[in-house]
């Protein structure tokens, strides 16, 4: 079961479009779910995600329209894993690992997906897995100096483990990383 994690588009405010390299990778009928960490900023972006999969979950980013009533957090169960999604601007200080752990415990999830840092990462901490897909467009961020690397993540959920693929666009070429997370027996 493939789950696409993507977010922080900021279209059309900070970027014009998703890189064509990424668009070539993201084709329909491959992933079953799409989890978006917010900051779509336009209806068209949402429609684009809908073309990738019929099951799209979106949480609210700070620049999303209030009228759309996206929830702050959302929990999706895929296979045996509970996956929590949150944009992350509500968590202060931003990107703090202990606050993220707190949220993961609150939501009682195995995998917590957050954005807002504009940097792609996937780490395992105290039996839980924290994924940040970064920004899909590589748009400018207030808490980062220098250029932002466009990125997204893909979870391959299997019976007892999750393989995470991190897709980064470095020097106009797609780099892929893989991180494997095994669910611990106790949880």
């Amino acid at each position: 079961m493939l789950v696409l994690l993507i977010g922080d588009f900021n279209l059309p405010h900070r970027s014009a479009n998703i890189s064509p390299k990424f668009r070539k990778l993201l084709v329909p009928n491959k992933m079953q779910h799409v989890l978006c960490t917010g900051n779509l900023c336009s209806r068209e972006t949402y429609d684009y995600l809908r073309t990738l999969s019929s099951d799209v979950h979106v949480v609210k980013g700070e620049f999303d329209d209030e009228m759309l009533k996206y929830p702050d957090t959302k929990v999706v169960t895929v296979g045996q894993f509970r996956i929590g999604v949150c944009h992350g601007h509500q968590i202060i200080p931003w990107g703090d690992s202990r606050m993220l752990e707190l949220l993961a415990r609150q939501l009682d999830v195995d995998i917590l997906v957050t954005g807002n840092t504009y940097e792609c990462s996937a780490v395992e901490k105290s039996g839980r897995f924290f994924v940040d897909p970064g920004s899909a467009t590589g748009s400018f961020s207030v808490n980062k100096t220098g250029p932002v690397t466009p990125s997204f993540a893909l979870l391959d959920v299997q019976a007892d483990n999750v393989v995470t693929y991190l897709y980064r666009l470095i020097d106009d070429a797609v780099k892929v990383d893989r991180i494997i997370y095994k669910k611990s027996k106790s949880t």
């Binding site: 070539k24 009928n29 391959d156 693929y165 892929v176």
Partner: protein, 580 residues
């Protein structure tokens, strides 16, 4: 002799000579295990000693096929470089590409498999479904020309069912110590043959063997021809007028001709209603090439009758089919006899009614006589035509629910339709009687408001034959029915006896003639021959007052006259009752 031992022996010696239809048939029909063994025959060598090797070879073969065709991208045999092995990249070496390509096919197969025989618990098992899906997928990948077509799952289902049944039967026998009589060697072979772990492998091999026979009906018409045909199609041209484009179509045309030969009345009736055999096998006339409809006639062939006959009888029918290889001629005959079986229903219904009966074929009550009928059509000289009674439960479907035609069947005046059919010179079967009885039963049942929806065909048979209390009518009709059948049997017995005696007499006469050649002996032989002739002609005297002299015509005449006679008798009895 022990059953298992016997089956081994039979598999070795008798079944390879199954061309002798009667012998092979009897043996094979003994039990379902024969089904398995004799099917395996094609996959297994003649010598039982070699079975183990060949089995392990074929099982290994499937394992390899499965490995190559069912790709799991997580497998460690693929490159572990995430740049090459990740779900999204479209590089050639990426195992995910083939994985996604198969996904569509897997979806279709999964859907079909989950719909297989919903009434049987065995097929609700998720493992079995997975197994079936895997087998079908491997087959589709291994035979790209056949690919996967809807309906293949219904061919696989009985196979896997029977293999599983055999395995369980063997396990059971093993637990009950029924295998003591076997030698160690034999037991080893059986152990190897009935191995639960190899259910999937064995099913696949059998499936391939069966598909060899059946795949011709799954072929698509060649693509180069068909578009042209669509262009040259003239307006108002009927489907049945165009040139057959695939082997399936050719076979369907053959079936139409066969039906014309065996039962012209029925063929005429169907064609007057515009239901030619190939109509539903053809593409529904539309200009969209891929928009096609697979309908009943094609369905019958494709599923090897799996939809029209309950599973238990189906296994029996398959046994018969598979013994008579290549199966297509017999399949055609079965097709025709399916039609002939319900001819009384078809002849009395209109277009919609006919379609209903064809789409939801009424269950066959006695599969044995049905098979005999089919074999009669296959080879009229060798196999005698069985005595046909009304063999279908016309009021229910296979699923056991009330047949849609039950409620909307037109109630025509009985006598008229019956007379008409008699005038049309219906073929010599007792079937002519069937509609009368059927209708009388129905009217009685309707009148007494006892129409209940039977839950199963078997129970319904009881309901059908046991009349309701205080219902003199039903009793009377049933009694007459019984009388007819007993008379028929008595007649048959007498017939047979007469034939045998006359034959014996002829032989005797021959012997006498050969032994000595004087005049006395000659006259004696003459006398004997005459005696035999009179015997042949006498045999129908009890029923028909003035039989013709010729023995051969005699039989036909008797068969034709008796039923209708009784029919008329019944009718008159009925009409008198009505008037009172």
């Amino acid at each position: 002799m022990n059953f298992w031992q016997e089956s081994l022996r039979l598999a070795r010696y008798d079944l390879p000579h199954a061309d002798r239809p009667s012998g092979g048939l009897e043996i094979a029909l003994k039990t379902e295990i024969m089904f398995f063994v004799q099917l395996v025959l094609r996959c297994l060598p003649y010598e039982t000693r070699d079975w183990e090797i060949s089995l392990s070879r074929s099982r290994n073969h499937y394992r390899i096929l499965k490995e190559t065709h069912l790709i799991d991208p997580h497998d460690t045999k693929f490159s572990q470089d995430p740049e090459l092995n990740n779900p999204l990249t479209s590089i050639e070496q990426n195992p995910w590409n083939t994985f996604f390509e198969d996904n569509d096919l897997r979806d279709i197969i999964g859907k079909d498999v989950s719909r297989t025989f919903p009434e049987i618990e065995f097929f609700q098992n998720l493992n079995i479904r997975q197994t079936m899906a895997d087998i079908l997928l491997v087959y589709a990948k291994e035979h790209p020309f056949a690919n996967y077509r809807q309906g293949m799952h219904e061919i696989l289902a009985p196979l896997i069912f029977v293999i599983n049944l055999d395995n369980e039967a063997f396990q059971h026998a093993k637990e009950n110590d029924e295998l003591k009589m076997l030698t160690v060697e034999e037991e080893d072979i059986l152990n190897c043959l009935f191995c639960k772990e190899y259910l999937e492998q064995d099913s696949y091999n059998l499936f391939c063997a069966v598909m060899l026979e059946v795949s011709r009906w799954y072929e698509e018409p060649t693509h180069s021809e068909t578009p042209k045909q669509h262009i040259t199609k003239e307006p108002y041209m009927r489907v049945q007028d165009s040139v057959p484009s695939s082997r399936l179509m050719e076979d369907l045309v053959d079936i139409g001709n066969l039906l014309q030969e065996t039962d012209p009345t029925l063929a005429k009736h169907l064609s007057s209603l515009d239901i030619p055999p190939q109509l539903y096998g053809m593409f529904v006339q539309s200009f969209f090439f891929h928009f096609k409809q697979m309908f009943l006639f094609r369905r019958w062939l494709r599923l090897l009758f799996g939809r029209e006959i309950p599973l238990h009888d189906l296994l029996f029918l398959w046994d018969v089919l598979l013994i008579d290889r290549p199966i297509s001629p017999l399949a055609k005959c079965i097709f025709v006899s399916l039609l002939v079986q319900i001819r009384h229903l078809l002849l009395t219904s209109d277009y919609g009614g006919c379609l209903q009966y064809l789409m939801r074929y009424p269950p066959i009550a006695d599969i044995d006589s049905f098979v005999k009928l089919a074999r009669h059509y296959r080879n009229p000289k060798k196999n005698a035509k069985p005595m046909m009674k009304s063999n279908n439960f016309s009021h229910i479907t296979i699923a056991g629910s009330s047949h849609p035609n039950r409620t909307q069947r037109p109630q025509r005046p009985l006598v008229v339709s019956e007379r008409k059919k008699d005038d049309l010179e219906s073929p010599p079967t007792i079937l002519a009687l069937a509609p009368v009885l059927q209708k009388m039963k129905n009217t009685i049942r309707d009148r007494s408001n006892t129409v209940s929806v039977p839950s199963s065909p078997r129970r319904s048979a009881e309901i059908l034959t046991t009349p309701k209390k205080n219902d003199n009518w039903a009793k009377e009709v049933q009694m007459m029915e019984e009388q007819v059948s007993t008379l028929q049997t008595r007649l048959n017995e007498q017939d047979m006896m007469c034939c045998q005696i006359s034959k014996a007499l002829e032989i005797c006469a021959e012997d006498v003639r050969n032994a000595k050649s004087n005049d006395q002996c000659e006259s004696l032989a003459q006398h004997l021959l005459e005696l035999s002739k009179t015997l042949v002609s006498i045999k129908t005297v009890p029923v028909v007052p003035s039989p013709p002299r010729n023995g051969k015509n005699n039989v036909d005449f008797k068969q034709r006259v008796c039923p209708s006679k009784f029919g008329i008798y019944l009718l008159s009895a009925k009409s008198t009752k009505w008037s009172t």
